[in-house]
């Protein structure tokens, strides 16, 4: 099989680390070769952040390049738009509809683009847009957006049984947050 690519994009501090850890764990347990790449340091301070998860029989490069992402999992809709060039022609975006104003918007130097969802759809890209924040709050915490997104993403992996996802969640999430994260995953999966 050719190498598959999942990109996780968002704003520093939104919880992409757990999402990539969980995916890496899950895909490793399925017997794939896996590489996960992220960047630490200055960009984490509220900046745009990206994590690459790549898997297949033999994975070489740790990063996804333009036109290669089978999935872009996005915590914030502007970030989905920012990274859209990385989407493969048949790729799919799974995004939270949350909007977080970046500094140029906060200061009034620029405006948050209008109708971004529509603009993304106009490119022909396949997109699932969910109000993940509301679902995460319903599950018990706004911080559980990552598991809502993964729940939604799990739809597109028919070969990976539900039990494997559950096992990965159990193994990656601290015990005291397990129920919360399971609920968030279910809400995303059934949305």
């Amino acid at each position: 099989m050719t190498t598959k690519n999942i990109m996780i994009v968002g704003v520093g501090g939104q919880g992409s680390v757990l999402a990539s850890k969980l995916l890496g764990h899950l895909l490793t347990s399925r017997g794939f070769d896996v590489k996960v790449s992220e960047v630490h340091g200055m960009s984490q301070r509220g900046g745009s952040v990206v994590t690459y998860v790549r898997y297949g029989e033999k994975v070489y490069s740790p990063v996804t390049d333009k036109g290669q992402a089978d999935f872009i999992v996005s915590f914030e809709i502007l970030e989905a738009a920012r990274w859209i060039e990385y989407l493969a022609p048949e790729g799919r975006i799974v995004t939270s509809t949350q909007q977080i104003d970046p500094m140029p918007v906060l200061t009034g130097a620029m405006t948050y683009p209008e109708n971004l969802l529509h603009e993304i759809q106009n490119t022909g890209a396949k997109i699932d847009a969910l109000d993940c924040l509301t679902l995460a709050e319903k599950a018990g915490s706004p911080k559980a957006v990552n598991l809502v997104l993964l729940g939604r993403l799990s739809h597109y992996f028919p070969d990976i049984p539900q039990e494997a996802w559950q096992k990965a969640i159990t193994e990656c999430v601290p015990a005291k947050f397990l129920d919360l994260n399971r609920r968030a995953f279910e809400l995303g999966r059934n949305a």
Binding site: D33, V39, H40, T123
Partner: protein, 576 residues
């Protein structure tokens, strides 16, 4: 079973398995996690040193005493440690000594994009370069064997994409290495001219033997291809990009040992292929070496000197078609999302006060470098660790007025103290502001000599900044709370007009520290808010304007109350 492991974690595992006994490092992205992970093994003594030079000298001392030692740093840290580096090459070692340098092509979190491979050649030291986590583990382990066999420190060079990428790793067991006895050897270890002159030929002979080792070492290998019209020499993460882009099409010479290079192996490889292409990030280190061997090759003419490469760049330059990605309509303008100071960051208040005072702010390396970003735009110079304080002295002596230096607690310990000594000794007027947030922030909360905790979080020695500055001869040392804008403004006004050098310590712990208690989020009284945007001048991510009124994001606000002090209309509620 194989496990998914970050390159830095795998490096730490390799050090552990090799019987490393002593590690001293200074944090720096992308190298930090190696020492953090190594500190989790109780068998290895680990510490944060005040700077990289101290770390390397400490590691040398441990090697001298007979224990396998390690120091790790980012690329610019090796500049700080360059002094011991060049001479430890002459003395050699007792027990194995391994140095890690982590480059940051693409400058994800750095002030320059230097290529540290030049240090191996300049200091005449062997350098290894892993290309994934498994190799990181193995190369750090092998580095000790090379170090002891050739009586030389060994540099292992990482880069962001190896350090911060996870790939599958098979771990082994730790090998306990008994201490080598320390033996007095003045001719080997005292580098004064008479001795050093005799050591230089030993260094040259060692490099000759290491070059021989490189010819047969499994660290360097040729992978056959189906088409010999082109051959590629590469290393590190570029090897992965080459294999991703081209598969097994062209033969590849993969260098795991980047210095010294295997000249015969390179010549032989070159002889079997048509076009010779060198794929490497940043400088043409391998390429220049090949040219010096008289080989015709291409490299920088195709790939340039800037930033990171990728599979698409390599494919494109070597004639393999690549997908162009999905594109948004050109009318959609995507605002940038630069990093910024967090909500409640204690640096924000003091930078606002500096901006209001119209100071020329000479800056330094840390989270507070973000003080240069709009809307604060309150920093005018950042060079390297410690430069704020040293440059303030020169700036003042040369007639510059109304200037201050800002430097974090950890950076001050790293190399601010020597600059402060120069101000005290050579007597310039200027205000040095130590931004004491009680942690090394940017690299992810490492302890330092001012925090009273060691790398494991246990109680440790604690340097008192006020006493230190007074002992250096500063009569004017005062502490302000950066959440209190008036206190900051008053202190600045007084110290700038004092006519002598002074130190202001702006003290409040990083808002992200777990032990810091926050106030409830503020609210805006929409009746009172006139939409004047005064509060927007501090660049707080928790504040925005909605329908002409200020709005607080309650999920981000930690109730620091700095915005409240800017509001003339009393529109902010809460915060105490």
């Amino acid at each position: 079973m194989k496990q998914l492991m970050q390159g830095n974690t795998a490096a730490a595992r390799g050090l552990y398995e090799a019987g490393c006994f002593f590690a001293s490092s200074y944090p720096g992205t992308p190298s930090t996690e190696i020492t953090e992970e190594l500190a989790k093994y109780d068998e290895v003594y680990c510490e944060w040193a005040p700077n990289e030079k101290v770390a390397m000298e400490a590691a040398f001392g441990a090697s001298l005493a007979g224990r396998r030692s390690f120091c790790g740093m980012k690329h610019v840290g090796l500049n700080v440690a360059a002094d011991p580096l060049f001479t430890v090459s002459y003395t050699g070692i007792n027990a194995g000594m391994v140095i890690c340098v982590a480059d940051d092509a693409g400058m994800h979190s750095s002030q320059n994009e230097q290529d540290s491979r030049h240090y191996a050649r300049a200091a005449k030291l062997p350098m290894l370069e892993p290309s994934d986590s498994q190799e990181a583990l193995e190369f750090f382990r092998i580095a000790y064997d090379i170090s002891e066999e050739f009586d030389s420190p060994v540099i292992v060079k990482m880069c962001t994409r190896i350090a911060h990428s996870q790939s599958l790793v098979e771990t082994g067991e730790r090998k306990e290495i008994p201490a080598r006895p320390y033996e007095k050897n003045i001719a080997k270890y005292v580098m004064m001219p008479g001795n050093a002159i005799k050591r230089h030929p030993v260094v040259e002979e060692r490099m000759r033997r290491l070059a021989e080792y490189a010819e047969t070492s499994p660290l360097n290998r040729v992978e056959e291809g189906s088409d010999n019209s082109t051959g590629i020499i590469t290393s590190s993460t570029c090897y992965q990009y080459v294999k991703e882009a081209l598969g097994d099409k062209y033969p590849v010479l993969k260098l795991g040992m980047i210095w010294p290079m295997p000249d015969r192996m390179i010549r032989e490889f070159s002889g079997h292929v048509g076009r010779l292409v060198i794929v490497e990030e940043l400088d043409g280190f391998i390429e220049e070496h090949c040219r010096a061997l008289g080989l015709q090759c291409e490299g920088k003419s195709l790939f340039g000197y800037l930033g990171e490469l990728s599979q698409n760049i390599i494919a494109d330059k070597l004639g393999v078609p690549v997908h162009s990605g999905v594109k948004l309509s050109e009318s959609v303008k995507i605002p940038a999302r630069p990093p910024m100071m967090c909500a409640g960051c204690p640096h924000r208040g003091i930078f606002y006060a500096l901006k209001q005072a119209g100071c020329t702010v000479l800056g330094d390396i840390g989270c507070y470098t973000l003080g240069a970003v709009a809307p604060l735009s309150a920093m005018e110079m950042t060079l390297c660790m410690g430069a704020s304080v040293s440059a303030l002295h020169g700036f003042s002596k040369a007639g510059g007025k109304n200037a201050v230096a800002v430097i974090g607690d950890s950076t001050f310990m790293h190399s601010g103290m020597t600059g402060l000594a120069n101000i005290a000794y050579n007597q310039s007027a200027g205000v040095v502001i130590i931004l004491d947030n009680s942690i090394t922030g940017m690299t992810g909360h490492q302890q330092n000599p001012t925090t009273g905790r060691n790398i494991k979080g246990d109680p440790a020695g604690k340097i008192d900044l006020e006493s230190l500055c007074r002992a250096m001869g500063f009569g004017r040392v005062r502490v302000v709370d950066p959440y209190n804008l008036k206190e900051c403004a008053d202190a600045l006004k007084e110290e700038l007009s004092a006519g002598e050098a002074s130190v202001i310590i702006s003290r409040r712990p990083c808002a992200l520290l777990k032990y810091v208690k926050h106030n409830p989020p503020l609210k805006v009284d929409a009746e009172k808010c006139k939409g004047c945007k005064s509060c927007m001048r501090i660049g707080c991510p928790a504040l925005s304007m909605k329908d002409g009124k200020a709005r607080v994001d309650s999920t981000l606000c930690v109730g620091c109350g700095v915005c409240k002090q800017l509001c003339k209309f009393g529109a902010f509620i809460g915060g105490e």
